[in-house]
């Protein structure tokens, strides 16, 4: 006999689907911010469920930094083809070429902050009024403050001190022209929930998440993958190691971990014993104590 209550994963799924449908009902031109990472893949999977048997009614928006893992781009293109959805791409390289932004200098230069301009340009050019993201409140302390429906002013800025209260399941997406919202359907999920869900639903994810042999360099306490964008310092050595990635960002800043986990089951087991946060290997967050908050205030996803 059914006990008429949901287990926690089903409840999180049901909540996320509710939010995705609210976005669709309340906004004119919403998109899913798709990075090719596990969180945006889960959001896309949830959108498929939310609108079944119709196709996902959102376009996917990818902010392409030009410093991608080739695996991520292939995964993105295959997914778009299989689902029959529209793909919008905002290009950081283009923004650099046209002088909208300037490349960072120095040894630890990344294109992380440069994404903000490209994202906001893409939102404006495509008249997007709601960008759905895979952000989770457990990721980072500034994200713990995020609402499901998060208001952005006409400059794309987030004001953490002036957020709309969110009560019961009544979401207020009203906005003026030129403003937009960010929506975070999996706000209440933790890294562990995401992995348990991927395993339960058998969702396909880029091979980068599974342990495999790869050329890497030891830098900033993690294994940075060798690529055409990486400048090897004289004291550094490129070696081959069995590693996997816990999060995916730009190839220049995403650190891998040594691992033998080459199946979803092994990944779930491994993640449950982790003693460091998943963003611990992301050098973009280590720049200052409020690095994420500062970027988010400016419009970062």
């Amino acid at each position: 006999m059914s006990k008429y209550y949901l287990n926690y994963l089903d409840e999180l799924e049901s909540e996320a689907i509710f939010i995705l449908r609210e976005v669709w009902a309340q906004f004119q031109n919403p998109v899913i911010l798709f990075s090719g990472g596990k969180d945006s893949i889960v959001v896309t999977h949830l959108a498929q469920k939310a609108f079944y048997p119709a196709k996902i009614p959102f376009a996917l928006l990818h902010v392409d930094t030009g410093h991608n893992f080739p695996e991520t781009i292939k995964f993105r293109d295959d997914l778009v083809k299989n689902m029959g959805v529209q793909l919008l791409v905002g290009s950081v390289q283009e923004a650099i070429d046209t002088g909208r932004v300037a490349e960072e200098r120095g040894k630890n230069a990344t294109r992380n902050t440069l994404q903000i301009t490209t994202l906001l340009d893409a939102i404006e050019n495509n008249k997007v009024d709601c960008a759905i993201g895979g952000g989770r409140r457990d990721e980072e302390k500034a994200r713990a403050k995020e609402r499901f429906f998060s208001h952005r002013d006409e400059f794309g800025q987030w004001d953490p001190k002036n957020q709309r209260p969110e009560l019961w399941n009544l979401l207020n997406g009203k906005h003026f022209q030129g403003e937009h919202f960010r929506a975070f359907p999996i706000s209440n999920w933790t890294e562990m929930d995401v992995w348990n869900y991927i395993k339960r639903e058998n969702i396909s994810i880029p091979s980068l998440y599974f342990a495999h042999e790869r050329e890497v360099v030891w830098r900033n306490n993690s294994w940075i993958p060798n690529s055409e964008f990486l400048k090897i310092e004289p004291n550094e050595e490129v070696i081959t190691k069995k590693i996997r990635f816990r999060t995916l960002g730009d190839i220049t800043i995403t650190g891998g971990i040594e691992s033998e986990a080459d199946t979803l089951g092994k990944i779930v087991d491994e993640v449950s014993t982790m003693r460091h946060t998943e963003r611990g290997n992301r050098s973009d967050d280590k720049r200052s104590e409020s690095a994420m908050e500062d970027r988010k205030r400016e419009g970062y996803f």
Binding site: S2, K3, Y4, Y5, L6, N7, Y8, L9, D10, E11, S14, E15, I17, F18, R21, E22, W24, A25, Q48, K49, A50, F51, Y52, P53, A54, K55, R137, D138, E140, K141, A142, R143, A144, K145, P160, Q163, R164, P165, E166, L167, W168, N169, L170, N172, K174, H175, F176, S187, N188, T190, M192, D193, S272, R275, H276, T277, G280, E289, S290, E293
Partner: protein
């Protein structure tokens, strides 16, 4: 981690600034091993920089730069931890500034509220306010934690006096399930582990209470309510005639074949199919997100509600709500607002402030009709069209509304329907 009793429990914490709320949350996360090493290193370093002798666990919960600088919590933050028994969501609400509005925000979806009392000060005005809001919002379970027991020499008498005092005044409130626990968040007594200094306390530590609270009955399983969020029309091969009413079940249970009524039109039909994602299911219940198809082609869209023929909500244009005003902009009598109830939006006006409540004394004030931020009042609302209403005490989902100000798009009020 595999979770055995695999439910999700949402709770909120309430207490004044120095009652040790952040420390308690930090302690729960720390002792349940939910703080990662790099997070701990970060707060250890900050504690050292601030010249503190020990690690300040409270630093873990203050996420914004201004909060860390000023040592206060500005806005609600959400925290997560999991034990082998359950997954928990904590709505961490600020203690002092704008406390009513923030507590209402955190409490609206909570299964349980933890009310902290400083053992040295006992029940104070703030305690009464928190208990009142918890009762107003019908939080099913209340756990009163008498904190800082280490500062009163773990005195059983002090604890018993506080319990008696709380029980006396809360008898006037509509709280059903209240538990009391003597704790020291700072030292970890009775938080995750049983206290060695209070062998006179026979009950469970806080975490064990949270893990075993019976929450399956927190959702109304009697009155079937399903508000339509959107209509799914795939218009593709194999599904040309498919018309699915998508939404999240607020309460009750629906089965294929059930006779239903679509409100407000009153058209009747039968449930033809229920979909959860790509799976067809025979029955669905709150809080599942599903899509239903009906046997007849009838006009039903966002804002409508599918209910059972023999159990319907009231349809009204004029009704009373207990309302908490959330915004700096004060109430303009006679002004129009947008009323949001489930997925239904209507123009509405505040017709009358019936009375204001003094949340310190619970007294009704029928003279003062001016409402400002954090005020709680009973008001009469008139909406442009009928709303499908349930009293909040029967249904937290279909009994709740918000008001949005037209000129600013801000959410200015939260209301609970009085029935």
């Amino acid at each position: 981690m595999q979770i055995n009793n695999n439910q999700l429990l949402r709770f909120t914490t309430a207490g004044s600034v120095d009652d040790g709320k952040s420390t308690l949350i930090g302690r729960l996360l720390y002792d349940s091993k939910s703080i990662f090493e790099d997070q701990l290193e970060a707060i250890e370093e900050t504690s050292k920089r601030k010249g503190l002798g020990t690690v300040d666990l409270a630093l873990f919960t203050d996420g914004l730069r201004d909060e860390r600088e000023q040592g206060i919590t500005i806005d609600v933050a959400y925290r997560y931890f999991t034990t082998p028994k359950r997954k928990f969501i904590i709505a961490d609400t600020p203690g002092h500034i704008q406390y009513t509005r923030n507590m209402v925000t955190g409490a609206s979806t909570a299964n349980a509220a933890i009310i902290l009392i400083d053992a040295r000060h006992g029940v104070i005005e703030q305690t009464k306010r928190h208990a009142f809001i918890a009762s107003l919002l019908q939080i099913p379970h209340i756990i009163v934690c008498v904190n800082k027991m280490d500062l009163v020499e773990y005195s059983e008498t002090t604890y018993n006096d506080i319990v008696t005092h709380f029980e006396e005044f809360s008898s006037k409130l509509a709280v059903k399930d209240v538990r009391f626990i003597p704790i020291s968040a700072l030292n970890g007594d009775n938080v995750v582990n049983r206290s060695e200094s209070m062998d006179w306390y026979q009950g469970s530590p806080l975490l064990h209470v949270l893990e075993t609270l019976h929450i399956s009955s927190d959702i109304n399983k009697i009155d079937a309510r399903f508000a339509i969020q959107t209509v799914i029309r795939p218009q593709r091969e194999g599904f040309i005639d498919y018309r699915g009413y998508a939404g999240r079940i607020s309460s009750g249970i629906y089965r294929v074949g059930d006779e239903v009524v679509v409100l407000p039109s009153g058209f009747t039909s039968k449930i033809k199919s229920i979909n959860a994602g790509d799976k067809e299911i025979e029955e669905a219940y709150a809080p599942m997100s599903v899509a239903m198809t009906l046997e007849n082609d009838i006009d039903a869209s966002r804002g409508n509600m599918i209910v059972k023929k023999n159990n319907q909500p009231e349809m009204m244009q004029e009704f009373d709500v207990m309302m908490c005003w959330l915004h700096n902009n004060t109430v303009r009598p006679g002004a129009k607002y947008i009323l949001v109830h489930t997925s239904n939006e209507q123009r509405a006006i505040i017709k009358e402030v019936v009375y204001k409540i003094d949340i310190n004394t619970y007294e009704r004030n029928t003279e003062d009709k001016n409402l400002a931020m954090n005020d709680i009042a009973r008001i009469k609302i008139r909406s442009a069209q009928n709303i499908m209403l349930d009293p909040y005490r029967d249904n937290r989902t279909t009994g709740s509304v918000i008001l949005i100000e037209e000129g600013t798009n801000e959410t200015v009020a939260a209301g609970m329907i009085v029935g």
